[in-house]
């Protein structure tokens, strides 16, 4: 008997910022929508383990889409004369347009890395639309560990470079098979797409939290102890600045919890998700 996973992949026609896009998304499960956002230079497949976890899919509809230019989502018509640069506005517009198109009712939004960064913004600016926001390896501003001048080199056009650049962000304690699958996604990215995501992550993602930033929905920042791109201290600092936000440190975990160590991640995530069951 063939082993077929419960994940279904489909394509959606979506208008974002006045332009038509063809967006690929995957989903599994039924219940509260859990909208998942992949990391820079990667794609929705990072969430495949959650979609195949019956303890999640029994009560949550896990949905993940590939951002435009990523995975199986198309770039816009005319891409051949455009340099891809992700901005905060386009990123937020894309997420809200996707949630609207699928008529998701009060989803939980959960993003990783740059998806975690935008989760902070979504919770504070659009929190009334979400049941909760979960930022995995997400903070409210960059903590650069390499110089922005590197972006002026041609190295970001190489998948093997992007993979090697992020390889240390996966924890040495993660199972090699899943650690390496996570890194493989960085070889799959289109030329300079990871670099284009860095435009948001490094220069357009800062969200200054202040006393008036109280998130209208719960905001939970979950950070792995091996992550030096967004450290557990970055998570705690961000949570401390936003009333109602909470930080959780994940032991033995790196920058890609859902894909590099799914077994360890579910132990942290399931109790968090359980809070939002009616």
């Amino acid at each position: 008997m063939a082993e077929i996973e419960p994940i279904l992949g489909r394509y959606l026609k979506l208008e974002i910022a006045g332009e038509p896009y063809r967006i690929y998304f995957e989903e599994a499960g039924e219940g509260i929508p859990l909208l998942c956002l992949h990391t820079a230079g990667a794609h929705a497949s990072q969430f495949r383990h959650l979609m195949c976890d019956p303890d999640v899919s029994r009560q949550f509809r896990v949905i993940a889409f590939d951002l435009p230019w990523h995975g199986k989502s198309n770039p816009p018509v005319g891409w051949e004369r455009k340099e891809y640069k992700l901005t905060a506005d386009f990123y937020v517009d894309t997420i809200l347009a996707f949630a609207d198109a699928l008529e998701l009712e009060k989803p939980i939004v959960m993003g990783c890395s740059m998806g975690g960064r935008v989760a902070v913004r979504l919770a504070c600016l659009h929190g009334e639309r979400f049941r909760a926001a979960i930022g995995l390896e997400g903070s409210n501003r960059p903590s650069p560990w390499w110089d922005n001048s590197w972006l002026e080199t041609d190295f970001f056009a190489r998948g093997d470079f992007c993979e090697a650049l992020v390889s240390g962000l996966a924890a040495p304690t993660s199972p090699p098979e899943f650690r390496n699958e996570t890194l493989w996604h960085y070889r799959q990215s289109g030329t300079n797409i990871f670099k284009g995501d860095m435009h948001f992550f490094r220069t357009d993602s800062e969200f200054e939290a202040d006393a008036e930033s109280a998130a209208p929905c719960p905001l939970i920042l979950m950070t792995g102890e091996y992550d030096y791109s967004c450290t557990p201290d970055d998570g705690r600092r961000t949570a401390a600045a936003i009333p109602g936000a909470e930080a959780i440190e994940m032991k033995g975990m790196g920058h890609f919890p859902m894909s590099e160590n799914p077994a360890a991640f579910r132990e942290y995530l399931l109790p968090v998700l359980k809070r939002f069951l009616n």
């Binding site: 390499w146 240390g168 962000l169 040495p172 030096y228």
Partner: protein
């Protein structure tokens, strides 16, 4: 401290293939000691310990002996598990012509990974 690379890298055809276009001399610092490592098309030609008198190296990764020892354990603590983690967390300095390191990053990550006890 790094002499093992002469054997481990040169016995690993795959890792040498990652560096087939890499010919350079780079340096590793351990406390005040320096090691210079010559690479020719991915093969390690020599590992020499200083002192050197103003000898050139393309780039230098320096850390304390304790930091390198932690890096080489099978499961290093956070901040010691990768050269960029060491740099980011203030446990190492990476200086010089960083572009050589970046151009051959898959190779150098793999080479230094061979220092880790499995």
């Amino acid at each position: 401290m790094f002499e093992s690379l002469l054997i481990t890298v040169n016995d690993d055809a795959y890792i040498q293939s990652l560096g087939r276009n890499c010919t350079t001399e780079f340096a590793l610092g351990v406390d005040d000691a320096r090691y210079h490592i010559k690479v020719e098309n991915g093969r390690i030609i020599s590992v020499e310990q200083g002192p050197f008198q103003m000898r050139a190296a393309s780039f230098l990764i320096s850390a304390t002996k304790d930091t390198w020892a932690e890096f080489m354990t099978s499961t290093p603590r956070p901040g010691f598990h990768d050269i960029f983690a060491m740099s980011a967390m203030g446990n190492a300095r990476i200086e010089g012509d960083i572009k050589i390191l970046l151009e051959h990053l898959p190779y150098f990550k793999a080479v230094l990974g061979l220092l880790r006890k499995v």
